[in-house]
């Protein structure tokens, strides 16, 4: 017995010695620092890998590790709740940002000079969505929702890009008459109802929607009626199995020319091109109303860069954020990801998104309405029921009730 104890003790001691050695090595070797970049852009991992390699070359003493798990918001929330916070956090400018900002997870960057070059509209979006005066992260990438269309099919049928809602419907009607599918809906994944609904709601909910919301008046029931009806109308121009296929199936089917249009955000473009590099794509602003001059393109902050307040290496983390914001690197990111930059002066020159450019230049942009709906409401679920049950009133009452309920639980 005694012998075993001695052996065990000796073993434990030698292990701790080893650990001691390891620690010593790490700290003596020119302050090698490891920081973690957690983000929600799984599509962008390759690009970020390249940027990290470049950064590490410039800064040999900093090692950046990127993490981008599926269900990023859930993973991040779980990690925050157990105080295991990544050094740099990249999420969307949505409720996740708002919750994290209100929980005091980020370092305040309101007066930071990295914000100076950012489009003020996007900075304002972060303030609006969190309801705070301070800004806790730098908007880096913006996305947009339009109608993705197959240029070859449009040319074949001799259709022009529609500018108004009525034209939009008549285009869909023409495609249908030609025996083709106008829209490839992917309702099995509930969230894929959101891009179209966002575009419709943002243009029809009324300008004072958010100011009323800040006063505590939830107006989903009355203001979302038009959007819900229009979404339902679009669901009529789908395909037979539209309730049974998901986002990935949709990207593949659309890239194979199975439908003329696809109601998704521009984040789907790289995926579609990956499946069929020869496809000729275009994106036009979502013609949500009959007044083309008033139509705003939905564009939100797709990726923010926030440094955690609890980071052990804030200097290095900040350095990496500044590196990403450098013009050359920001340009590389948006080029490879078909996204728009939140930084002033960096433009997206890809011909695919030419039709959206005018809206970006004019500044007729507006944020995603669902960024303002608390996550507990899960509007995508109710929307999924709407396109299946086709009952607008049921949808409106349910959404209103869910929203009020969640508000009441806080």
């Amino acid at each position: 017995m005694k012998k075993t104890m001695t052996l065990l003790a000796a073993g434990a001691l030698s292990i701790s010695l080893l650990a001691g050695c390891g620690g010593g090595e790490g700290s003596s070797g020119e302050d090698q620092v490891k920081i973690e970049f957690f983000h929600h852009k799984r599509e962008g991992m390759e690009t970020i890998d390249k940027l990290i390699a470049k950064f590490e070359e410039e800064n040999p003493n900093i090692e950046v590790e990127q993490a981008s798990p599926p269900e990023p918001s859930t993973v991040l929330r779980t990690r925050v709740s157990k105080s295991d916070i990544p050094d740099i956090i990249g999420v969307g400018g949505d409720v996740t940002y708002s919750d994290l900002a209100n929980a005091g997870v980020f370092t305040d960057v309101t007066k930071d000079k990295s914000l100076e070059n950012i489009q003020p509209a996007y900075v304002q979006m972060l303030k609006d969505v969190s309801g705070l005066e301070e800004v806790f992260a730098v908007p880096y990438v913006a996305n947009a929702v339009g109608v993705i269309y197959n240029k070859a099919i449009f040319a074949e049928l001799g259709i022009e890009v529609p500018k108004t809602w009525d034209e939009f419907i008549s285009v869909a009607e023409k495609v249908k008459e030609a025996g083709k599918t106008p829209f490839f809906h992917t309702y099995k994944d509930a969230w894929t109802t959101l891009p179209a609904f966002n575009a419709l709601a943002a243009n029809t909910q009324g300008d004072d929607f958010y100011s009323e919301l800040n006063k505590g008046n939830i107006l989903a029931e009355e203001r979302y009626k038009e959007a819900a009806e229009k979404l339902l109308q679009l669901s009529e121009y789908g395909h037979k199995n539209q309730q049974g296929v998901g986002y990935n199936d949709g990207n593949t089917a659309f890239s194979n020319g199975e439908s003329a249009m696809y109601l998704q955000g521009i984040w789907a473009l790289p995926e579609i091109k990956k499946a069929n590099p020869d496809i000729e794509l275009g994106v036009f602003p979502f013609p949500a109303t009959n007044n083309p001059d008033d139509i705003n393109v939905i564009s939100g902050v797709d990726l923010i860069l926030g440094v955690a307040a609890s980071s052990k290496h804030p200097e290095e983390a900040k350095k990496f954020v500044e590196f990403l914001l450098e013009e050359e690197n920001a340009k590389q990111y948006i080029d490879e990801q078909n996204a728009f930059s939140a930084i002033q002066g960096i433009t997206q020159d890809d011909p695919t998104v030419d039709d959206l450019k005018a809206s970006f230049e004019k500044g007729s942009l507006t944020d995603f309405p669902d960024h303002y709906i608390p996550t507990g409401v899960m509007p995508e679920k109710t929307l999924q029921s709407l396109v299946i049950n086709k009952d607008v009133d049921e949808f409106l009452t349910k959404l209103q009730a869910d929203w009020e309920k969640v508000q009441d639980r806080k």
Partner: protein, 313 residues
């Protein structure tokens, strides 16, 4: 074990030297037993009991899962739970699913077990085949069936003009739960078959011989001999499959994500989604407490009823 207890309970009787010796020997043995239980006890307490108690504590707050501060709200979460239609629907779905699943799983696994217990060719091969689903990861099985329902079945339906197969049933509000049920039963049967098989091997063959002399047919043999003797196995299988199907989660995550709408949102999926991504940690903790009480009550109830039946037989 009984001997130990006697010795421990009556320490005063041990007066002679030899008895003293036995006592010391026994108590050191008891300590050894306690030591064996200790690691499991510590692990269970740290990773199970303690978090469960924490959950109960949070269910009385309004914590959203990440903020630094929270307030106590008393029973507000519990009151809101009873007003929430989403919660109500998820309970209805889960119970509908669990009742159907545990009945069907037991019927099928008993049938298959009886077949696999008979003297048939390639018995071990079939036993292995039927056990296979149990060692596969639920998520992977779910994703495979998801692909099957989404891509393969509609093609088959298209080819042979079977109308109802041409659309994915997982996207159908009324039928999605049946798709999940099928996969659940397929996978859950494997384990129950094993339990039933071991039960069937406890039935003495003499009974069958005697009954066949009395002119009983196979059907009578099954109901009068086999089924009563394997009653304890029936009990444990019913309880286990009820509990497992009440906690259905992975299958749904892999196949429908709770949709369409909330049609296939089980209670555990709702707790997970609402609690972690929905920012309602405290509210869903309250839901989890109710859910725990329900499963506990149902399991006790099932055990009581079914064990009584065992005695009657």
């Amino acid at each position: 074990m009984k001997k130990d207890n006697v010795a421990v309970n009556n320490p005063h009787t041990s007066s002679t030297k030899s008895e003293m010796k036995t006592k010391r020997k026994i108590s050191s043995r008891t300590i050894a037993f306690y030591m064996m239980v200790l690691p499991a006890f510590i692990l269970f307490a740290t990773f199970h009991t303690f978090p469960a108690l924490q959950g109960i504590y949070y269910s009385f707050t309004n914590w959203n899962g990440i903020s630094l501060d929270y307030d106590f709200v008393g029973f507000k979460n519990y009151i809101n739970l009873f007003k929430d239609t989403v919660v109500k629907d998820s309970y209805i779905f889960t119970f509908k699913f669990a009742v159907m699943a545990s009945i069907l799983v037991n019927i099928f696994s008993l049938l298959i077990a009886v077949g696999l217990n008979a003297k048939i060719k390639g018995r071990n091969f079939f036993r292995a085949i039927y056990f296979l689903p149990n060692v596969l990861s639920v998520l992977i099985v779910g994703f495979i069936f998801n692909f099957f329902f989404t891509n393969i079945l509609p093609d088959v339906g298209e080819k042979y003009n079977i109308e109802f197969l041409t659309t994915n049933i997982l996207g159908n509000a009324d039928l999605a739960w049946i798709g999940i049920l099928l996969v659940f039963i397929w996978q859950a049967c494997a384990f129950n078959i094993i339990l039933y098989l071991s039960g069937l091997q406890t039935v003495p063959t003499e009974l069958y011989e005697a009954s066949s002399l009395d002119g009983a047919n196979t059907w009578q043999q099954f109901w009068k001999i086999t089924f009563p003797i394997i009653a304890p196995f029936f009990t444990i299988n019913m309880v286990l499959s009820m509990k497992n199907s009440l906690m259905v989660f992975d299958h749904i995550v892999a196949m429908t994500g709770g949709g369409p709408g909330y049609e296939t949102t089980s209670i555990s999926l709702l707790i997970y989604n609402g609690g972690f991504s929905g920012g309602e940690f405290a509210y869903q903790s309250a839901n989890a407490v109710i859910y725990f009480i329900l499963i506990f009550v149902i399991s006790v109830f099932q055990l009581k009823i079914l064990q009584k039946r065992e005695m009657d037989m």
